[in-house]
Symmetry: C2
Subunit: 203 residues, 2 copies
């Protein structure tokens, strides 16, 4: 039992080290940059060890994207989930954009992920699944906000989630293209647009 557990732990560690090494080299050289040999060497393993954990380079890319994107989505959405607070999510995202934490730092550019998705059905499915989960969580948060009276009740919560998701994807592309984009001003506008209409004031 102990040996099995230790072996499983060692295997998990090897896998994690390969993913970390790949993340580092992808960020430095782009998704198409480093060879598998370079990644294995950087992690301190042989190519034999690699194929115990991954079936292909694309399989490794899936794991890296899952880790980076999943971690980012969790960090942003968690900010809102405790208090069902869409405003906190939108502001946290704007800060991530302004600080350069979003999109990916380094040489991994959004179009490389899209290109890899076009090539690998497995990566495409993983990426879609991550996006779909984010969309579902945003819709839940929007609905809770409507119940709590912090989000306009006359909006469709699912459409709000789709709108925010398209905004995130668009911000990614705007950043890659160096389109001037004031994430803070856009976020404040979005929040004003999502806020409940002020109660009528008698003159």
């Amino acid at each position: 039992m102990t040996t099995t557990k230790t072996r499983a732990e060692a295997a998990e560690k090897t896998r994690a080290r390969l993913i970390d090494a790949a993340t580092e080299l992808f960020a430095r050289e782009g998704l198409g940059g480093p060879s598998l040999d370079a990644i294995c060497k950087h992690a301190g393993f042989t190519r034999g060890a690699f194929y115990v954990h991954f079936s292909s380079r694309d399989d490794l890319i899936v794991a890296v994207v899952e880790k980076i994107m999943g971690g980012f989505i969790d960090a942003i959405l968690m900010a809102g989930e405790a208090g069902a607070d869409l405003a906190t999510i939108v502001r946290t995202f704007a800060i991530a954009v302004k600080s350069g934490a979003f999109p990916f730092r380094g040489e991994v550019r959004p179009h490389q992920i899209l290109e890899a998705c076009a090539r690998s059905p497995e990566l495409h499915a993983t990426y879609l699944e991550l996006i779909e989960q984010a969309r579902a969580r945003l819709a839940i948060t929007a609905r809770r906000g409507q119940e709590a009276g912090t989000v306009r009740a006359d909006l469709d919560a699912d459409a709000v989630a789709q709108l925010l998701l398209a905004l995130v994807l668009g911000t990614e592309i705007a950043t890659e293209l160096d389109v001037p984009h004031d994430a803070g001003a856009v976020a404040e506008n979005v929040l004003r647009m999502l806020a409940p209409v002020s109660p009528p004031v008698s003159p």
Copy 2:
């Protein structure tokens, strides 16, 4: 004089035929698909004629992107400019998405344009210029809408333009990734969010 004019016209025609042939083959085979020879042959010209009009394959791609994107932007924004009507622009765009007219039909996928932009500073500059013009026109339309009382006056017109632009870029990516996206519902939500707040009604 007449000969010069005729020559200029013939040159313009040759250039236009090369652009049309490239647009057709790119749509069929993707941006990286057809060889220069195939494009020239499809247009009925030699490679010598090609280099009279374009300095490189990237130069031709610039002309194709300028034509397709410029035409699309004009078609969408013109819908609103006569009446300074942001609602018509947003709805016209949603219809273009639902009908499949946006993004590009065929095999030219958004990531290929981004990849070409990353490779060619000239294409990047052209694309940025098109986006910047669209943003400026959207901001003018938003401001006119505010003056006409059809757009909320408490929003920042520039941020509204940036928001709509990010939405367009995001919709492009969502479509490429097959993310479920109800363009009509999102458009109606956006219009509700942009509309002036109803005047207070006394109970």
